[in-house]
């Protein structure tokens, strides 16, 4: 066991405080808009805190450090693209400003506003499926981090992860977005402190020049140049640009923050400043991975990279970073870092729970009821449905997360599973917002061809992630163009149609 008493005290105090603060949100939940988009009351700074906390989790630190360990400084290209794309979206208001003006609560809701209820349901199903499966791997990876850094016996891992998920579930189910925003603030501050501490330790103990020398000796120029690096190359970089533009505009949990801001201008500011945080969100953990390679990379070569070895035991590259932290951090500091990582875990998981369950309740159940002619439910019943969906998603995650292990580099796996729905959603949203001719036939073609473009090449033809990513976005764009040209013209803009169906709250 690596944990001292002081470390346990810090972690338990954090968990209790987080829980109590989260429950404070309950008294402010009056209706569904309060529950899902915090009454659209988010200002710039709390918006930055909640968006950053939502998209920075232990899973983010783990997969980014794995990328750094496996591919050296060339991996920084992915982080740079994610940050620059976010700053671009924030500065220009690309997509997010127009979506915010429509006063939506979920991304698939836009599909009914612009296209049709049927397409909203199909999109809702694809978004929820892809999102929940994507999130399904989080628990396992987060569990590995906790086990390695604390030295916890493997037999307590399942119970620990279930306890953490239950704590998140309680305050998310009770207080919705308001509770999440309050806890995100605390969690953002804590996870940032942990990030800064780890970076200082990594650079101090591994040394910048030693890290550069290690990457040079193991990978040569490919460890620095993303264009010549075998796993990357130009096609990877272009796919990453498309993917990150899609994530920053159409990813449900990110979009919900934009929908929760006070105004479209606030949403642009939040996105711009969080873009700078995204540079560090990627590059700093990648640096930890390189530090781990420098300090622990002495094992047998696999794919040209030495495996991490600790006390004679060979680990997987993804476990190198927590193993390094267990070795470097002293009592007290280790507790603060783990509390910070737990904060990161809880902020991501609670937001994702709310995001995906909101899609199920708002974009599958509610429109299906309308479709079969059932009267709309009261606000109280809608809230109850949201809470039940929240709980059901949480229970599913416990089982899925503990049973399934993703193959290969986790970052690339998460990218490709996200692309299954993001390619179609991104193309449909852009087409719907900026091209009047886009219509329902085109929307169906784009969603289905985008999903097929990601699934068939990657899972059945075993092509690279970049190839599958390109295929998904390319086919989706072709689907929207051809479907819209052949189908009946919509001849209405999204705001006009929103007014027609009286959908937007």
């Amino acid at each position: 066991m690596n944990f001292a008493t002081i470390d346990w005290v810090i972690v338990v105090v954090y968990l209790a405080a987080s829980m109590l603060i989260g429950l404070l949100g309950r008294k402010y939940v009056g209706n569904t808009a309060h529950f899902l988009v915090a009454g659209r009351e988010l200002g710039t700074y709390i918006g930055i805190a909640t968006l950053a906390a939502t998209e920075i989790g232990t899973i983010t630190f783990m997969y980014n450090s794995e990328l750094g360990y496996r591919y050296g400084f060339a991996a920084f290209s992915a982080a740079l693209i994610s940050g620059i794309a976010m700053i671009f979206v924030g500065r220009t208001g690309f997509v997010i400003r127009r979506l915010r003006v429509l006063r939506l609560m979920t991304v698939p809701e836009y599909f009914e506003v612009k296209y049709s209820r049927g397409l909203r349901i199909v999109t809702g199903f694809l978004v929820a499926l892809g999102g929940i499966l994507n999130m399904g791997v989080f628990l396992k990876i987060e569990g590995e981090f906790l086990t390695v850094i604390s030295g916890l016996n493997q037999k307590y891992l399942v119970a620990t992860m279930i306890a953490i998920l239950l704590l998140e579930l309680i305050y998310t189910t009770v207080g919705g977005m308001i509770s999440i925003v309050i806890t995100d603030y605390l969690q953002y501050v804590l996870l940032s402190i942990a990030t800064i501490i780890i970076t200082i330790y990594a650079v101090h103990f591994a040394g910048w020049h030693a890290m550069v020398a290690k990457v040079t000796s193991v990978m040569g120029g490919d460890g620095f140049n993303p264009i010549t690096a075998p796993k990357f190359g130009l096609s990877f970089l272009v796919w990453q640009m498309l993917l990150w533009l899609a994530i920053h505009t159409c990813w449900q949990t990110t979009a919900m923050r934009m929908f929760s801001t006070k105004s479209p201008e606030v949403s642009k500011r939040v996105m711009t400043w969080t873009g700078f945080i995204f540079l560090g969100r990627g590059m700093l953990p990648m640096l930890w991975g390189i530090a781990a390679l420098t300090l622990l990379g002495h094992g047998a070569l696999i794919g040209g990279v030495p495996q991490p070895v600790v006390h004679g035991q060979t680990l997987a590259p993804i476990d190198a970073m927590p193993a390094m932290l267990a070795m470097l951090l002293g009592p007290g500091i280790r507790g603060i870092v783990v509390a910070g990582m737990l904060a990161a875990t809880m902020s991501v998981n609670s937001s994702y729970l709310l995001g995906w369950s909101a899609v199920i309740s708002q974009d599958i159940i509610a429109p299906l009821r309308k479709q079969i002619g059932r009267p709309p439910v009261s606000d109280a019943t809608q809230l109850l449905i949201n809470r039940i969906c929240n709980f059901a998603v949480g229970v599913f995650l416990i089982f899925w997360g503990l049973l399934y292990t993703p193959p290969g580099a986790v970052y690339l796996y998460l990218n490709i599973t996200g692309t299954i729905f993001l390619a179609g959603a991104f193309v449909c949203v852009i087409g719907g917002l900026y091209w009047k001719r886009a219509n329902t036939s085109g929307g169906y073609c784009a969603m289905l061809m985008g999903a097929a473009g990601a699934i068939i090449p990657f899972f059945f033809l075993h092509k690279s992630e970049s190839f599958a990513g390109f295929a998904a976005f390319g086919l989706s764009a072709i689907g929207l163009l051809i479907g819209s040209m052949l189908g009946k013209s919509a001849n209405t803009t999204a705001p006009e149609r929103a007014a027609q169906i009286g959908e937007v709250q």
């Binding site: 009454g39 988010l42 200002g43 930055i48 540079l279």
Partner: protein
Amino acid sequence: MTGWGYFWGTWLLISGVAFAVITLVVAVKGFQDLRAMFAGLSAKERADK
């Protein structure tokens, strides 16, 4: 160190400094935003009643 080494070193420095500075600003001003959010929600609740 190659040109790429200096390139990534510079971006790393920018990202580290930006991360630390924004954290500090958000920690202070985010608390004021939280209070404003509670006030706004309470006002809406009163208006609804």
